[in-house]
Symmetry: C2
Subunit: 243 residues, 2 copies
């Protein structure tokens, strides 16, 4: 059985702990908040892997406390290189490509876990760890992971901002935003069978300039207008229309 | 039993036909492609409702063929006013708030259907029609529907474009875009329990300017850079950060 210590008590740590509790291949034997880590912190000898699941900008500093460790030391960040961890230790990355909220249950079985390590034996152990909770384990270098994280900003962060603007428009017009729940789900699910290039619909795709002009007029927030205009141009460019 | 004729053979018509086939309250007795409609087209006398499910810009012209009809005449568009239909007839709107693709099955039970009519009796019939396939029927005026459709452009069309940019980044870096499927679904599902304001995460929300600068550098397409910049600014504004 792989014995694991989790450093950090945020969302990722919380969800990993829950996921590992469901497999007999892994046991979480210690969970330590990052602010409690110092040179005096004592860890069980039996631990095979330390997973540092904390804020990106604290990874470098906290990992320094493991610079003499003989164990496998991982971080869980999409945008931080493996090089942020001390050199000359057994280091690696365990990045679950998912968005975590404390209150929401996550089915890890389908969550892609991107792993990276510098030694074959560590990579093997890392794959065993990831494979114990997910059926989707991928070897991804730090360079590729950086691009994956950039794509995730569009797919997750910017998408959520589109939802937010939709909700603001609803609020202003006394419309119930929860009406959009089935549409939001289907927009994502569609891509199980179509590429986003094929799935595009709407006035910009149709080059329907009269609807575009009318909708621009309806937008009252200057930033929303700018976003509408820029994304409309970008969709038109994607489909080769004259601007 | 309500007898219905569908005008048009596109996605919406196809899915409505399928949905009505599952209820005993409604029977689709005729389906006519819009190009076959003219003054000589003969319709069954038994028909209660005509549903014109065609391209937005053809609704006005095609509906003229019904200007002497005594039946209830509906269109299915989100962005077209009820006034596009001939005045002095029994007219109405039946707008399902969903995105339709021929190959994909839609569970109509959860699809919000926005209805509008000018006479109480027509509205009653319209609600019976919508209620036969959906548990989510909403009385929405043309003015409100216009705003709903505007919000849908952000929630559906622009969101899909975010997916598209994510996919382009993946392609260029030999990453498998299907890895994003669980993330896209969870980003939408999250809003069952959180508002999009609460659900926002990412470098812009955190005001993480070093990640923002690094990601901007990684973007090679000028339009993608502009979009990244504008949406980052807009998220910062939403959360009251100085720009």
């Amino acid at each position: 059985m792989i014995q694991v210590a989790l450093i950090g008590k945020g969302n990722v740590s919380h969800h990993l702990q829950k996921a590992f509790s469901k497999t007999s291949q892994v046991e979480v034997v210690q969970v330590v908040p990052s602010r409690k880590i110092n040179h005096e912190t004592s860890f069980k000898d039996s631990i095979d892997i330390f997973i540092i699941a904390i804020r990106d900008d604290a990874i470098h500093a906290v990992s320094q406390y493991f610079k003499d460790s003989k164990k496998l030391i991982l971080h869980t960040s999409g945008s931080i290189s493996i090089d942020a961890l001390p050199s000359r230790i057994r280091r690696g990355v365990f990045y679950p490509l998912q968005t975590f909220t404390k209150e929401r249950e996550i089915d890890f079985e389908t969550v892609p876990i991107c792993v990276e390590a510098e030694h074959d034996k560590d990579l093997e152990l890392l794959k065993e760890l990831a494979g114990s909770i997910s059926g989707s384990v991928h070897e991804i270098s730090s360079g590729q992971r950086e691009k994956l994280h950039l794509a995730a900003v569009f797919v997750n962060n910017f998408t959520n901002h589109m939802y937010r603007i939709g909700q603001e428009i609803c609020q202003k017009n006394e419309l119930d935003f929860t009406m959009f729940q089935p549409l939001m789900l289907e927009t994502a699910k569609k891509l199980e069978t179509l590429s986003p290039f094929e799935a595009q619909t709407g006035p910009a795709k149709r080059n329907d300039d009269s609807t575009i002009a009318r909708q621009l007029e309806q937008l009252k927030v200057e930033k929303h207008k700018e976003i509408y205009q820029l994304l409309t141009e970008s969709i038109k460019t994607t489909y080769g229309k004259e601007l």
